[in-house]
């Protein structure tokens, strides 16, 4: 089969590899019809998440048709399914309380050991991500082996096309959980850092959960326009002082809920962020936590801090004083996708949620390298890229290949 493989920093090759087969009784094999490039794939592309090996098949947002089932799978051949990005067994303590992304049993034991020194525990398995999270082959491929197929994959009705349901695999539940875990109240002002897919879906979810006002912070004009179109207000951090703007727009109260949908590769001009950039470049596992610092300072006394943005290492100058003295609640985590998929599918089906407006490009899987390159370097227009195995390459999709990154 053909598969998009990681070969090093900013180096994606589509290669021919052996097809996957059923290994464990609860497995199924999915033939991929649509697979997206995620913002967190860019952390892999930029090589700031440790634990990738050249040749790894990327991709954790994918859906398709079930073509093979193990003896203990509850799916049938021909089922059309979306596949949540965290792999969860459904049997362990964490799965029993719907903490699917904390599953004890989905990450092979050898891989679990890799995060023990840093986190104290092994994390759940994730498709197409670091070996820290299992080293499972991902969905930017023609076929995927899906473990615990009786727990994760959700059968979707045929009348909902791929574009309408694909985001149930990650970014829609991630945006939803970011808002839901912040316990949004009707009078709340919510500030969201990052108008990427997760930030925009978090803003959309916050409004759906009844927030009085949602403010999205970014610097890309087109992305801020998308935020405006879903009913949010905007702050462009290149044009306005974010802390002052948020204070004034919340009538001097401060924002009730802050959501960091940026994570470890924050942009910013402050001295402490420049230092973070240097530390990350020299590879000492440092997170660039500029957004989280700013969000914590912006949050009102007794407010809530929600962090769907990905962090992997350590941070300096973390505002513990502001966190404690203001009595803030901190809610974080990889998304427990399986907990949200049924409810969100119902909201898509009855028209409450539509997320197709986010999609900017469909590309053949063969053009994965171009998709990564443009998703990273042309973020304003390339808001979401969907790769389609088997889609024919047109002349204009094939011409621009990878370009050398400026130093």
């Amino acid at each position: 089969m053909r598969a998009a493989t990681w070969q090093g920093t900013h180096l994606i090759n589509v290669e021919t590899v052996d097809d996957p087969e059923i290994v464990n009784p609860r497995d199924c094999i999915v033939k991929v019809t649509s697979t997206a490039i995620c913002g967190s794939d860019l952390h892999l592309y930029d090589n700031v998440i440790p634990g990738l090996v050249p040749g790894d098949i990327l991709g954790h947002e994918f859906m398709g048709e079930v073509v093979e089932v193990g003896p203990k799978s509850t799916l049938n051949k021909g089922d059309r399914v979306i596949v949540p990005f965290p792999i969860a067994c459904g049997n362990c303590f964490h799965c029993s309380i719907e903490q699917y992304s904390c599953c004890d049993n989905s990450n092979p034991v050898e891989n679990q050991d890799m995060t023990r020194p840093l986190y104290g525990f092994g994390m759940a398995g994730i498709f197409g991500y670091s070996h820290l999270t299992g080293g499972y082959a991902g969905g930017q491929a023609e076929y995927v082996r899906v473990p615990f197929s009786d727990v994760g994959p959700l059968v979707v009705p045929d009348h909902l096309e791929d574009d309408k349901v694909l985001f149930l695999t990650d970014i829609l539940p991630t945006g939803w959980q970011a808002a839901e875990q912040a316990d949004i109240q009707p009078d709340d002002t919510v500030a969201v850092w990052g108008a990427g897919p997760v930030g925009l879906f978090a803003a959309q979810s916050a409004l759906a959960l009844g927030a009085a006002q949602v403010i999205v912070i970014d610097h890309y004009p087109h992305r801020l326009e998308l935020a405006r179109q879903i009913g949010a207000k905007t702050v462009n951090f290149r044009e306005s002082n974010v802390l002052e703007a948020l204070m004034e727009m919340s009538g001097g109260i401060g924002v009730d809920v802050v959501i960091d949908a940026v994570g470890m590769e924050a942009h910013g001009f402050t001295p402490e962020n420049m230092l973070d950039v240097v530390k990350q470049k020299v590879g000492i596992g440092a997170d660039r936590a500029h957004v989280l610092r700013q969000a914590i300072v912006a949050c009102r006394k007794g407010g809530r801090v929600s962090v769907p943005g990905v962090y992997g290492g350590l941070s300096d100058k973390f505002p513990t004083g502001a966190l404690m003295e203001k009595g803030l609640q901190l809610r974080t985590g990889q998304t427990h996708v399986q907990k949200h998929t049924r409810k969100l599918l119902a909201m898509i089906e009855d028209g409450t949620l539509d997320t197709t407006w986010l999609i900017s490009h469909h590309l053949p899987l063969e053009d994965a390298a171009k998709g990564y390159h443009n998703f990273r370097t042309k973020q304003d227009e390339w808001t979401k890229v969907i790769l389609k195995p088997g889609m024919e390459r047109s002349e204009d999709t094939a011409d621009e290949e990878r370009q050398t990154e400026p130093a």
Binding site: D18, P20, E21, I22, V23, N24, P25, R26, K72, I87, C89, G90, N91, C92, F93, S96, D104, N105, S106, N107, P108, V109, E110, N111, Q112, D113, G125, G134, G135, Y136, A137, R145, P147, F148
Partner: protein, 221 residues
């Protein structure tokens, strides 16, 4: 507390009779909580102490498994099942009376070493202790305990293994293999046991069954 003291005594008595007093002492010290030491007592298991156990290497790990105690006990008590989740164990063959069996342990370079073990003590649904019989290449003993975890959390499974590999080529090979990272090995084996009991399978990122076997072989090469 009562349980661990009683078991310690049981193990020590049984082992002393077979000339394995040293090993029993190692496990005994291991099981004992440091509460006994009056000056700086705490409730941590002995195996978390920052000290050694003489000539014996001793490892201990605890895992909580969301399955009934009796089910876990029964599975473990059929020693042939152990090879399904213990990485360095190729197979276990019962040899007849007294719960004796031959454990075929994987050694470097595709070699294996056989160790005959016997059951030293067992309490249904609570404890199984085993040890190598006199004259084995490797002097080892182990103990697994099963107790109810608080509330609905299932069963706490504790595994302790002590071993002393004497001179001789096989002994050295075994020692090297065991001592590579024995504590990690014990934790991994217990986690695989947990996976198998809770989910019915052991997680692997292999894309094909053949790959899964190959990966396992490479690890032992």
């Amino acid at each position: 507390m009562t349980t661990s003291t009683r078991e310690k005594a049981g193990l020590a008595t049984a082992a002393a009779g077979l000339g394995l007093a040293l090993g029993a002492a190692a496990i005994g010290a291991f099981v004992q909580t440091r509460k006994a030491k009056e000056a700086q007592g705490d409730d941590a298991p002995g195996f978390t102490a920052r000290r050694g156990f003489g000539q014996y290497d001793v490892v201990g790990r605890t895992v909580t498994i969301r399955r009934p105690r009796a089910e876990l006990y029964a599975f473990w008590r059929d020693f042939q099942n152990l090879a399904g989740f213990m990485e360095n164990l190729e197979k276990v063959q019962p040899t007849g009376a007294n719960g004796r069996s031959v454990w075929t342990i994987k050694a470097p370079a595709g070699q294996t070493v056989d160790v005959e073990t016997e059951i030293a003590r067992e309490v249904e649904n609570e404890l199984i202790a085993w040890r190598s019989v006199a004259g084995s290449d490797i002097d080892t003993e182990g103990r697994v305990t099963f107790e109810d975890a608080p509330g609905e959390r299932g069963t706490r499974v504790g595994l302790i293994i002590a071993y002393d590999a004497p001179a001789g080529e096989a002994g050295r090979a075994i020692a090297k293999m065991f001592m590579r990272e024995p504590a990690i090995q014990a934790r991994r084996d217990l986690k695989r046991f947990k996976m198998l009991m809770e989910t019915g399978e052991i997680a692997t990122n292999a894309m094909r069954p053949s790959e899964s076997e190959q990966a396992s072989q490479e690890e032992h090469a």
